[in-house]
Symmetry: none
Subunit: 177 residues, 4 copies
DNA sequence: TGTTAACCGAGACGGTACGTCAGGTCTTGGA
DNA sequence: TCCAAGACCTGACGTACCGTCTCGGTTAACA
């Protein structure tokens, strides 16, 4: 529901009411309850329908994997610099914290498109010798998403240099050279 | 306020009402409003007063840094395996997503005790040759906390082997050996 | 609203709360506020709907006017001897003291049925030579109602002999014989 | 308490709170509760202390009793024409309707000063042949006060001609000449 | 084309919690 | 020692939304 997404972006999840959604959509409250059982369920469907924008696709395959990831992360962080997007994602976070079902939907929706794609990219890169072997795409995604989420909630800087730092640390590792 | 912390742990942040806090604390509602302006402000004070338990201290200095971090992470993840603690942290997350002021308090309270301690440990470790140089403690903390948070919200596994995987990846990095 | 009338009779106007009315009527508070703007407005509607009982009709026409009035007054005072009725009327008084609109409704509702009836009776009686001419029915009603009200508020005796005393004084006047 | 009288005059009885009285008088709330048990009790004392204006004393003895009463009633009604006084008396009425104790105090304070005085005047007048004998001062006072109260609550006219009508009816009686 | 059924906006309903106000009691710190 | 100042518990206020439940008016399918 477009009205829902817009209202969450405008006001934040907590401040959006079902009545306000109904009013904004020029729809009766009952019509909403006919299809969804809760506010978070509406959001879950917004996500499934792709109404909530997620970070863009990975850059094309022929790139260096490190550059690929850096650009992707830069794009994702950049999207979060937009106040409405940030507000929306914080709303989703709030909703997911309260509702395990929504959390599951959100998790799958967020990771699915990336997991297979990134897994393939990492594998190819490993074959090209750009990476060491034995790396789990899920772990990488988890770490990157977790970091974005943490910065988002902490209202930390989302500037472009941040992406480079993170990828640098991720690639080089902490161990001695 | 102890009543607040307990209720958030029991019911989740959203389901806690100011009235229920007042009733649990055998206190008038007005007394709460006299001292705090919102539910999240109470939570912020709970955090500042140390009523909300955070993961335990780092292990003793003489350990290998990698083992130190692994154990610390294992402990932190283990704490999140307790449903009440997990519920409390999810509540804090939800509150922080809605209230920038609380987010700031929470962020500072969470990172302060670790930042200096971990920074020192990392520095010593680097001197002992266990780490490469130029590593930002803040970045490490951010990545670890972000990962914990992400797993918590996604209801992912918090088992002990997870800590090892993460530290392994973090130390080795993604780059080719 | 029957619940309102009963509660006012039981507890007195000041001690009746909108919440208690809502609870007694098994109704949400908002439903009451949707239809009435204040407690006194509810009472005004009770009066207009005839839910509040007023003293009975005048006795039949063929009576002597003095006996008629005496009996009517005795009946009215007798009704006030019932604690619930007395409490209800005191409640109306309290409400009327606070709310001019209610006072108007109450005044009209109280006097209307009597004014025309008593006026006609007085006129007939004057024609029969039982009364001197030039008497205003409104003034008589005002004096009788005022006296009842005063006795009611002062918790003075409402016994049957009182009616006779009052009518005696009213008919004979204070002047020398 | 002067502060009370002023506040009642300014705001009306209903809108005056004990807290506002305390604040205006630069006095602690407890000090007020030490001496009075309720807002209406304070007002009762205000009346007793003559801070609240009540109808003036009867005119001097050498007047004709009928003129005396007419002037007294005119004065009383005139005082009620002042919105502040009327509001105050309505407040007392409301309080008396709810609180039998206050009603008693108020009744005694209101009638006492008049009863003995009017009783004596009526007796003298009867001796001078201005009145018929056997008249109860209490009944006269009750009727006059009742009428004033009724007009006050009904928001009826308090103009000077009203006094004359009432006294005329009271003296002449309803019976045939 | 006219009748009927499903749908849906609008919004009233019984509720819960909100944040505020005032009541009456209890504690305290300065005169 | 007294008392203003004001925190405290209580309970009612009037409002915002909740999720449920009728209402009419419109639309679409069938007669």
């Amino acid at each position: 529901m477009i009205a829902t997404r817009d209202l969450v972006a405008e006001l934040g999840y907590e401040r959006v009411t079902i009545e306000s959604i109904a009013a904004r959509a020029h729809v009766g409250k009952q019509t909403i309850y006919r299809w969804w059982s809760s506010k978070s369920a509406i959001l879950a469907d917004c996500i499934l329908d792709g109404l909530v924008l997620l970070p863009q696709e990975l850059p094309p395959e022929n790139d260096d994997i490190r550059i690929s990831l850096t650009e992707w992360l830069r794009g994702a962080l950049g999207a979060m610099a937009d106040p409405d997007s940030a507000s929306l994602i914080r709303g989703l976070t709030s909703a997911a914290a309260d509702d395990p079902d929504l959390a599951l939907v959100l998790y799958e929706r967020l990771t699915e498109p990336y997991e297979s794609s990134i897994a393939a990219r990492l594998e190819e890169a490993a074959e090209r010798g750009e990476l060491r072997s034995g790396i789990s795409a899920a772990d990488v995604i988890e770490m990157l998403f977790g970091t974005i989420l943490y910065r988002l909630l902490s209202r930390l800087d989302m500037g472009p240099h941040v992406a480079e730092n993170i990828i640098e640390m991720l690639f080089s590792g902490l161990g001695p050279t």
